[in-house]
Amino acid sequence: MEILNILMDILMGLWETSGLRALMDSPENLLMILISFVFMYLAIVWEFEPLLLLPISFGMFLTNLPAVLPEDMMYHAEFWTMEQNADWLFTVLHDGGLLDKLYLGVKLQIYPCLIFLGIGTMTDFGPLIANPKSFLLGAAAQGGIFFTFIAAALLGMSAAECGSIAIIGGADGPTAIYVSSKLLGGGGDYNLTTGTIALAAYTYMALVPVIQPFFMKLLTTKKERAIKMPQLRQVSKTEKIIFPIVVTLVVALLVPSAGALVGMLMFGNLLKESGVCSRLVDTAQNALMNIVTIFLGISVGATTTAESIINPAFVKVMVLGVVAFSLGTCCGLLLAKLMNFLSGGKLNPLIGSAGVSAVPMAARISQKVGAQTDPTNFLLMHAMGPNVAGVIGSAVAAGVLLSVVSY
């Protein structure tokens, strides 16, 4: 009889600390798990940016598996609202779960910069060097960021939340994560997290082919879409080597808070263009990039706790996100139209929408919409200029937001 009692106690103890028991107490976690399945479905079946959306959605799944004991949890939302000092770091390292420790790389701004290093090794700035005016289109498309900032502020969001939502308009995942992880300490009225921002950013980046063509056709005439642009000039190797150094110099001196992102992007590009570091380039664009993508995705996904998603603010973020993308596209198109007018009809306004930095998706859309009007028109390389300029532009915009809003 004694043995049976002990056995019952043990079984009861196991039940009390089990996830099943916890799930009964928190049905919202069950809903979150179902939502994570939806995102997994989007990633696997619809191939919505699967390399990031799948890790993010699995991180979401893991973080919402409830545990009764705090030490069993893989992610602790409360760690990220604490004041960040030496004790805090010790707490995370000592008491944190696996996903807490991986999230340190996001919070300490390491992963987005390493991703930018990899992007740099894969980017050809040739079209931008050949046609430096493209920089202007890359800047114009950042209008989406700042106009969304206004919209978010009018909806009564705090400065940090406005900045984090607005940066979605940069159409650049790592930049959005970079800004929001720095600005958002969790908590606040809306409980926004980096995960919410990342989900919106990557979902809309996957939807660029759906969002952009509508505005491109709306804002341009058939005649404008048919404009053929002359072939770009050849860019010498020396120019390609000097370019990353010059850009880093200019940007880091003007907007130091964008220095880390732009610096790593340009470092990667210099490695590539130098032609003497093929081993480093290979690692940066393959192994390192993949490792960081895994860590980034799963730990950012972990921040999407039930409180942050089952929340009216999430709907606001999704709505403002699509507003941000649309405004960015329109700003780029409108400046391209103006430049076309000033140049006497030599610039196809379709390349303006590529100024949002979703590389190379936005440039593909310019090519595709152009080819729909005239199948013999090739805008791809012309659109790559504004496209890569958009990456630099959104990094600068991120720097501005970070230097204006304190965190």
């Binding site: 202007l136 705090s158 940007v251 003007l254 907007v255 230097s403």
Partner: protein, 155 residues
């Protein structure tokens, strides 16, 4: 909105002047927007100027280099290229000012015309072979166009 206060605000923006948790008043909102767009544009306009300047400098350098090379080639080239023997009277004489190195193409065209002249009894003379620039295809042949389309298609 009060524009003057927005402009005044831009001066105060440096150094994280807006606490993250605060709600924004209208002058802050416009201040951030104007300053943000202004800084992004001025930064990228500066880059346009710098890169444009670089492009110009490199154009000059490359031109000098090319001139030097051309001078070298001219100096090394034999004084006079011996003229090819006059073509046989029945064979058509070919000249192609536009594409002088496309000898093979000219040979093929000439051969076809020679065969034609043998068939119908009249003698044709090929005076020049020039590539036709088709405006609708941007100066490309249908084959080149198709190749290009195939290259771009995966995007």
């Amino acid at each position: 909105m009060n524009f003057q206060s927005a402009v005044n605000h831009i001066n105060m923006l440096a150094g994280g002047s807006i606490p993250g948790q605060d709600l924004l008043d209208s002058s802050q909102i416009w201040g951030v927007t104007i300053a943000g767009l202004g800084i992004v544009f001025s930064c990228l306009v500066l880059l346009v100027l710098v890169i444009f300047l670089f492009g110009k400098i490199f154009e000059v350098i490359n031109k000098k280099k090319a001139d030097k090379q051309a001078a070298k080639v001219a100096a090394n080239a034999p004084k006079a290229v011996p003229k090819p023997a006059a073509p046989a009277p029945s064979a058509p004489a070919a000249s192609a000012p536009a594409a002088s190195d496309d000898d093979e193409v000219i040979a093929v065209i000439s051969a076809v015309i020679a065969a034609m002249s043998a068939a119908d009894g009249t003698t044709y003379k090929v005076r020049s072979v020039k590539p036709a620039a088709s405006s609708s295809l941007g100066g490309r042949t249908a084959w080149a166009m198709d190749g290009r389309r195939n290259n771009v298609m995966p995007f």
